[in-house]
Amino acid sequence: DTAVSQTPKYLVTQMGNDKSIKCEQNLGHDTMYWYKQDSKKFLKIMFSYNNKELIINETVPNRFSPKSPDKAHLNLHINSLELGDSAVYFCASSPNSREADTQYFGPGTRLTVL
């Protein structure tokens, strides 16, 4: 069984559209994250949720809105997509946010904005 899953794996869309990426973990972890990997492969954290509460918001444009309906799910909604949003988006989870637990990553979603 996949520990951290993301849908879709690939997303191609036009500038200005709104899209969502979904993430689910079946590890029973309390904390989930969204990372962005740009075209140069640089990985940067965007958001972190602990037990459905937002705990990290790394100066991401407010076109990006994460939502955690329960601690096993963390979705990312992006409004008014721009060319610069093209990237691979990774979801990850860890047992909790208080300690440096190992983070388990999903397979990534490659978003292409045309």
């Binding site: 492969k41 940067k44 954290i45 602990n50 946010s97 440096a100």
Partner: protein, 117 residues
């Protein structure tokens, strides 16, 4: 703010040989954790090895070991008996142990490792 630097954009190694990937970091914290993650062409991020800063002993996982030099803020990864399946991009990452870090990982730029048969 913490920074992580991987000064080798690309490295290559012959199969069965040993290769070392470099990582340096900058922090004013004394308690933290360091990680190496591997990203093969499938793009899945896979944990290779982890080191707690309070431990003097270098971490090892089978063919993977680290050389952790806390004073020099250096954390290199040694891959012994390299295999074709080791070909990937390798990321060094830092996590502050403080309670306000909330799990935030800071990554280096990555090193692409090529393994030649």
């Amino acid at each position: 703010a913490q920074t992580v630097t991987q000064s080798q954009p690309e490295m290559s190694v012959q199969e069965a040989e040993t290769v070392t990937l470099s990582c340096t970091y900058d922090t004013s914290e004394s308690d933290y954790y360091l990680f190496w993650y591997k990203q093969p062409p499938s793009r899945q991020m896979i944990l290779v090895i982890r080191q707690e800063a309070y431990k003097q002993q270098n971490a090892t996982e089978n063919r993977f070991s680290v050389n952790f030099q806390k004073a020099a803020k250096s954390f290199s990864l040694k891959i012994s008996d390299s295999q074709l399946g080791d070909a990937a991009m390798y990321f060094c990452a830092f996590h502050n142990a403080g309670g306000t870090s909330y799990g935030k990982l800071t990554f280096g730029q990555g090193t692409i490792l090529t393994v030649h048969p």
